[in-house]
């Protein structure tokens, strides 16, 4: 069947175009292939999955994944990808365009597959570029509450970079490098990840850890890839990119541990989704910041507050004092309820007692 072979060749070319960052060209080819009668069901499913990756629009992604699932109803990865998409909150359709930083300090034609991250709280770590704008992913464990780190590209090339946000839950940290990449790093869509798939975990300095994806543990919750790598094998503080045989990014190895005590990686699709969420938050709330202690969005900065509304940590570039606006008090959960009968404070309660003085608060319905 020469027609099928040709269609499969075109599919491979479209995927290559996507991974080279030529999204529009790839999308045109994928749209044509998805309708082509010469492509088998599995190939059409793959075309729809990649087409979903080519578009930002959530409904379009959903339609693509639904069609992919219709082509391959038993494909658990596609079903999981669709379920994740449906579970994720809808984003506003139109956002102001983000201004690109002027005078980028470094432009890379060929981005290194792995970089070194130094100066964090737990020693040298690895990291990988996950966006053309030079967004770098490493582990939250590696950077701790540091605000700046040194990024090493290999050889003598190194530069200072700022921690944008940490996600302790995912053991992930994003670093803004300002590096302009010629191509978007090649990432595999989660719907294409297969159990038992082989990978290599790359470490800055040249170490390469071969491994396989396994089932169970954190792998079950959708964002994680369970690996067969023991944490003691990790040569640094994590953040190692997992790449497949074609050099495509599968995930970022973390210090989180799954079933059987093996290291877990965060799926690259989830890393990219968090990067996109971060970009939107920074567009919508450019004056908000992120707490260096818990990593949460610190909206207190919008109202002149000096401490994180989630964990109480002092925010960078503040004196830690709380401004006394009503909006800020609401954010901190204060002045929201009735005054305590013991001390008069309106700071809320815990286990039925006033957070300030411990006086028993009135029970609901009590006279």
């Amino acid at each position: 069947m020469p027609g099928i072979t040709m269609a499969q060749d075109e599919l491979r070319r479209a995927i290559q175009l996507m991974q080279d960052g030529q999204v529009e060209a790839a999308a045109g080819l994928l749209r044509r292939l998805a309708e082509a009668p010469t492509l088998d069901a599995k190939g059409r499913a793959a075309a729809y999955v990649w087409l979903a990756e080519a578009q930002e629009d959530r409904d379009y992604k959903r339609r693509c994944l639904e069609r992919a699932l219709a082509c391959e109803p038993d494909n658990a990865q596609i079903r999981q990808g669709l379920n994740q998409l449906l579970a994720s909150p809808a984003q506003p359709e139109h956002l102001p365009l983000m201004r690109r930083p002027a005078g980028s300090p470094l432009s890379l034609e060929q981005a290194p597959a792995v970089v070194g991250v130094e100066g964090g709280r737990n020693g040298l770590a690895s990291g990988a570029f996950v966006g053309r704008g030079g967004l770098l992913a490493t582990t939250s464990y590696a950077v701790g509450s540091a605000e700046e780190v040194t990024v090493r590209l290999g050889g003598e090339r190194e530069f200072g970079a700022r921690i944008l946000r940490r996600y302790p839950l995912f053991d992930l940290a994003f670093i803004a490098t300002g590096v302009e990449l010629a191509r978007k790093p090649a990432a595999a869509p989660s719907a294409m990840l297969a159990e038992n798939a082989a990978f290599v975990a790359l470490a800055y300095g040249g170490a390469r850890l071969p491994g396989r994806l396994i089932t169970g543990g954190r792998g079950a919750d959708g964002h994680w890839l369970a690996t067969n790598i023991a944490p003691v094998q990790l040569p640094d503080a994590g953040g190692n990119p997992l790449v497949d045989e074609n050099g495509h990014l599968l995930g970022i190895l973390t210090r989180n541990i799954g079933a059987g005590g093996k290291a877990c990686a965060l799926k690259i699709t989830h890393v990219l989704a968090l990067a996109e969420q971060l970009r939107r938050e920074r567009q919508l709330m450019p004056k908000a910041g992120y707490c260096p202690a818990c990593g949460g969005l610190a909206r207190a900065l919008l109202f002149g507050g000096g401490t994180c509304e989630s964990c109480g940590a002092r925010l960078a570039a503040s004196d830690g004092r709380a401004a006394q606006s009503e909006a800020l008090m609401r954010l901190y959960g204060e002045n929201a309820g009735p005054p305590c009968r013991g001390c008069g404070a309106r700071v809320g309660g815990y286990a039925g007692r006033c957070l300030r003085c411990g006086y028993a608060l009135a029970q609901k319905g009590a006279g």
């Binding site: 000096g306 401490t307 509304e309 002092r314 830690g320 004092r321 300030r356 003085c357």
Partner: protein, 157 residues
């Protein structure tokens, strides 16, 4: 938590002769560090208590009525402010990790510095060191915490 008897927690009484021995030991220690035990004595719900001034810090000492007597040394620092409690509670926990042989805690709306150890083997030099350390911490922390979070310093208007 049951041994924080000086603040009204209920604990069982122990044989009087053992408690008397412990009482005499504490009073001799207080006398040895320049505190008049009779003048410093205060009424407490159970056991014995003393309070006195060290520098700007108020020091409270309690003897627990247990078979193995415990010496508790406390210094009240500040009343909690009426807002920004999350940040203050976090700061107290951060400070807890930095203190040596002392801990920060809350009773009702007052922040305390606290140290406790078995009475057995305690001599005047060690008791003096404990009290001096708590007094120094209290001196540093009361100004810093009430300045940052706005709570009223203990014992001041």
């Amino acid at each position: 938590m049951g041994r924080f008897f000086g603040r009204g927690e209920d604990t069982p009484d122990e044989p009087a002769d053992q408690l008397d021995l412990s009482l005499r030991a504490v009073e001799s220690i207080l006398a040895a560090i320049g505190v008049d035990p009779a003048a410093a004595r205060m009424e407490v719900a159970r056991g014995y208590g003393w309070n006195f001034q060290r520098g700007s810090a108020l020091i409270e000492v309690y003897l627990t009525p247990e078979e193995q007597g415990y010496l508790q040394v406390l210094s009240p620092i500040m009343h909690l402010p009426a807002s920004n409690l999350l940040a203050l509670y976090r700061r107290l926990l951060e400070l807890n990790l930095q203190l040596t042989n002392a801990a920060l805690g809350l009773h009702e709306d007052v922040v305390y510095l606290y140290h406790e150890r078995l009475l057995a083997g305690l001599d005047a030099a060690e008791a003096d060191a404990i009290i001096r350390r708590l007094a120094r911490y209290a001196d540093e922390l009361d100004d810093a915490l009430s300045g940052e979070f706005g709570g009223r310093m203990y014992g001041r208007g």
